[in-house]
């Protein structure tokens, strides 16, 4: 049985459908990658899984529990077992790097301060930022902030982690380290990971399972190998990064020429 | 940790400052102190008219405050006001023929009861009645009388 089962998910922002019937399974102990063009709703999907947004139709079950039927307290219990790396990092800006990573531990455990210190230094060491522990979030670069956020997301040793674009803004060296880290965390702790990313190569390297989303639906699903050999136009375009094809680079709406003509007509 | 401690100390000082301010308002500004007067003894005085006198107005003797008005009620038989005075126990040597009048402090000031000591040998006790009273001056009446006497004088 999969850890997360998403069935017939519909979600609207105003009148705009972000999801029109998505079915998705995420298996325990696996790294599942979710890919798709910018603005398809990958971040939205993670927020739906975390119970921060309510679907308009359909259900999301984690470990057999329907996330959106849970009571407040139960939802918070469940979230203790989930880690999430936000696209923006979402570090608390008025406390230091160290305190940020220590935050979930201090909130949810009664561990003595000395043990918290050891744990935090361990997590920071893993992301290569142990010596940045006294910096404030405002003093970090975007990539560093993301790594601190990663250290924080794993500080409670959750059963699953959702990474929202973990590789963006990382140099090749830390990128390589992060790829290894995510893989290692997944294997050593038997964690379930969901990785949202645009970075094909890295995603291919760590994912067991890949979902391609576009236009509110799952377009393709498979292992890295099957996707690479897929005959679908859409998948090819996405995998090879071609500007023309079934996926439009542009936000949906009127065509460029129509728009130009219209503005002339208005004059 | 050090920063946390100094935060706690300043917050503590802030709370103390606020409570001191409240204490100051209660003790120095309001009549709380005069509420907790030393338990005194009560005497009653009957006035034809009390004007603007209120419960808790001061009672003075030779300008010195020696008590306060406890209550004012209407006597339905005599149609006059029954004023109960609470006098401090330390002024227990008021002669029984002491007189009580209602005065106004300044032109617009508050009204208070002024006592004038008499000459009797015996002293007022709890529950006694002050016989000699002079009602409050009601400004309209005074002016009315003044105008009346003026008019009368002209004739």
């Amino acid at each position: 049985m999969p850890l997360i089962e998403i069935r017939d998910l519909h979600f609207y922002r105003g009148d705009r459908a972000i999801f029109k019937g998505v079915d998705l399974d995420i298996y325990r102990g696996k790294v599942t990658a979710i890919m798709g063009p910018s603005g398809t709703g990958k971040t939205t999907l993670l927020k739906l899984i975390g119970g921060q947004l309510l679907p308009d139709q359909g259900s999301i079950k984690i470990d057999g529990q329907d996330v959106h039927q849970l009571k407040h307290a139960q939802l918070y219990e469940l979230r203790k077992r989930m880690g999430m790396l936000f696209q923006s990092g979402a570090l608390l800006t008025d406390i230091s790097v160290f305190d940020n990573v220590a935050f979930p531990l201090r909130e949810h455990t009664d561990l003595p301060e000395s043990m918290i210190r050891d744990l935090v230094l361990m997590k920071l060491q893993a992301v290569g930022l142990r010596n940045a522990k006294d910096l404030m979030p405002a003093e970090l670069s975007g990539g560093m902030a993301r790594r601190v956020a990663l250290a924080r997301a794993v500080s409670l040793d959750p059963m699953m982690i959702m990474y929202d674009e973990p590789f963006t803004g990382q140099d090749p060296i830390s990128m390589g380290t992060l790829v290894n880290l995510i893989k290692r965390i997944n294997q050593s702790m038997g964690l379930t990971s969901i990785v949202v990313s645009h970075d094909l190569e890295e995603t291919m390297a760590i994912a067991d399972d890949i979902y391609l989303l576009s236009d509110g639906r799952v377009i393709e699903r498979g292992t890295p190998e099957t996707l690479q050999n897929s005959s679908s136009e859409w998948v090819k375009q996405f995998m090879e990064g071609l500007p023309d094809g079934p996926v439009s680079f542009h936000y949906p709406g009127v065509g460029f020429e129509d728009d130009l003509l219209r503005s002339k007509a208005a004059k | 940790m050090r920063q946390k401690k100094s935060t706690e100390v300043t917050v503590g000082l802030f709370v103390i400052l606020g409570l001191l301010a409240l204490f100051f308002l209660a003790m120095k500004v309001s009549n709380l102190t005069s509420f907790n007067d030393e338990p005194g003894y009560r005497v009653t005085a009957e006035f034809e008219n009390v004007g603007g006198l209120k419960a808790r107005s001061p009672v003075t003797l030779a300008g010195v405050r020696i008590g306060r008005v406890e209550s004012i009620t209407l006597d339905s038989d005599t149609y006059s006001a029954n004023v109960v005075l609470n006098l401090y126990a330390s002024f227990s040597t008021l002669p029984t023929d002491t007189a009580a009048s209602i005065y106004t402090a300044g032109l617009l000031g508050e009204q208070y009861i002024g006592l004038e000591a008499g000459a009797e040998e015996e002293f007022l006790k709890d529950g006694d009645v002050i016989e000699l009273t002079q009602p409050a001056l009601v400004l309209e009446q005074v002016i009315g009388q003044f105008l009346f006497s003026k008019a009368g004088g002209d004739e």
Partner: protein, 259 residues
């Protein structure tokens, strides 16, 4: 037609906001017991909401009291009633100016800061991040600030009134030569602990509740952009001022109406 439609939209929008504000308040209050268990969070906020406002309150209170002393003296001296200066200063401060002016200053100093802080935390996904760390931002962030505001304002208002009365005394006795004894005794006989001082305190408790609620709600409800947060901050000050002044009228009518 257009005007009517706009009015309708405004009315719908406003009642939706009121509804959200009410639900938000209920959520805050539901968090009070657990926040009381972790009072250190409230103490931190008492520092930024209360302590940092003390200086402003002290200075403003002193000057307002001194001005009252001057103005009161020139009015009263014409009636030969300058001895009542103490009463006038004390009653104006304790009943009205203390609670109202300190609430207005509090809205400008602490309320706007609260809105900006919460709004920024929302726009940088810090609140959302906390939710995902299974930390309820209402309980961890909002309720401690609410309690701090609610506790701070009555204390600040008391400080304001006390300093103001001292300011009035400095001007009346020190500068204008009003009789020392008359200033205090008249004040003491005419100022009632319950009717005046306690009612003033009740006013500032109500203002503290409302101003902090507005400030936190505006921050939490802000559109998460820099412009949105800026607007929310302005709204906090404007709505707080409206709320303070209109509630002051209602409370005054209720408390001092029947003489």
């Amino acid at each position: 037609m257009d005007g009517i439609q706009r009015l309708g939209r405004w009315a719908i929008g406003t009642s939706e906001r009121l509804g959200r504000g009410y639900l938000f308040l209920m959520a805050i209050l539901a968090g009070v017991p657990s926040t009381l268990m972790r009072f250190s969070l409230v103490i931190q906020q008492l520092y930024s909401v209360g302590v940092l406002s003390v200086f402003l309150i002290l200075i403003s209170g002193l000057f307002v009291g001194m001005v009252l002393g001057l103005q009161g003296y020139y009015t009263l001296v014409d009636f030969g009633a300058e001895e009542s200066l103490g009463v006038m200063v004390a009653l104006s401060l304790v009943r009205e100016l203390g609670p109202v002016v300190s609430a207005l200053l509090f809205a400008g100093r602490a309320g706007s800061a609260l809105t900006a802080e919460i709004g920024l935390m929302k726009s940088t996904e810090q609140l959302s991040g906390m939710e995902m760390m299974a930390v309820d931002p209402i309980r961890r962030i909002i309720t401690p600030r609410f309690l701090a505001g609610f506790i701070s304002l009555p204390l600040l208002a008391a400080i304001f009134s006390a300093v103001g009365i001292i300011g009035g005394y400095i001007v009346g006795y020190g500068l204008l030569g009003v009789d020392d004894g008359a200033f205090w005794t008249q004040m003491q006989t005419k100022t009632d602990l319950y009717a005046d001082i306690m009612n003033g305190v009740i006013k500032s408790v109500v203002f503290g509740f409302v101003v902090t609620w507005i400030a936190l709600f505006e921050g939490h409800d802000a559109i998460p952009t820099s412009e949105g947060v800026g607007r929310a901050t302005t709204r906090t000050v404007v709505h707080s001022a409206f709320a303070i002044l209109s509630l002051d009228f209602v409370l005054t009518a209720l408390m001092f109406g029947e003489v």
